[in-house]
Symmetry: C2
Subunit: 134 residues, 2 copies
């Protein structure tokens, strides 16, 4: 998937948070800093949520390092963590890092079936986030 | 002041937070989104802090709109808010939006004298932030 398309889906989610009355920021320099940086940070009511976005057509992989960095960000910040997936022509689904699929190697994956089975919808995410139950 | 130099001081502060064990992210798209976006977001222990950076040689101005947007971000997110100032060859000082100088017009300002008088140091900021007393 092109970076441009990834940026577009990331911005889509960014606006979805604001429309729910939740502040959201896109993080700069993902990949250009030695510090872990998620794609988005949403903040509301003394709760924060760090999000890694994965979108595209088919199964997407996450390197072990990518997942470790998200978890590290969570440990230091105390933020909730979610991998946000958006497959073409489908709704968003949100999975905790430990809910990602695990293949034979060290990488993690997520595909539409896995996301539907293990993830939650945006509506569920917002409800849980506002109730501090993520 | 050049954008490049502004980015450098912003990155300096970014790393200072991480070195204190506080997660920090640089926000993308400041100016390119209709939603308010601070320069940095620091997160620790169910507390978040949205920061607008101002650095350079002499007095720096903030437009009323800039301050309003920071306050709006604070209302939606519940985050603490600070304007971080770093004048050449001086330490960082942090002021709440309501502690900024107010000139004759609608703009706000901060200079070294004002920052030293009304602001707090990085050490004080970290202490208060960790104690949830910002």
């Amino acid at each position: 998937m092109s970076k441009k398309k990834g940026d577009r889906t990331e911005r889509e989610l960014f606006h979805m948070f604001w429309e729910e009355g939740i502040a959201c920021s896109r993080v700069a320099g993902s990949g250009s800093t030695p510090r872990p940086s998620p794609d988005l940070i949403a903040v509301t009511n003394n709760q924060s949520l760090a999000i890694e976005c994965k979108s595209g057509k088919g199964r997407r992989y996450l390197k072990e390092k990518e997942v470790d960095e998200l978890k590290y960000f969570g440990r230091v910040s105390g933020a909730n963590l979610m991998v946000a997936t958006r497959f073409d022509n489908e709704d968003w689904f949100f999975l905790k890092p430990e809910e990602l699929g695990k293949g034979k190697g060290k990488n993690f994956y997520v595909d539409l079936n896995h996301a539907k089975k293990h993830g939650i919808t945006f509506k569920e995410l917002i409800k849980k986030f506002k109730q501090k139950k993520l």
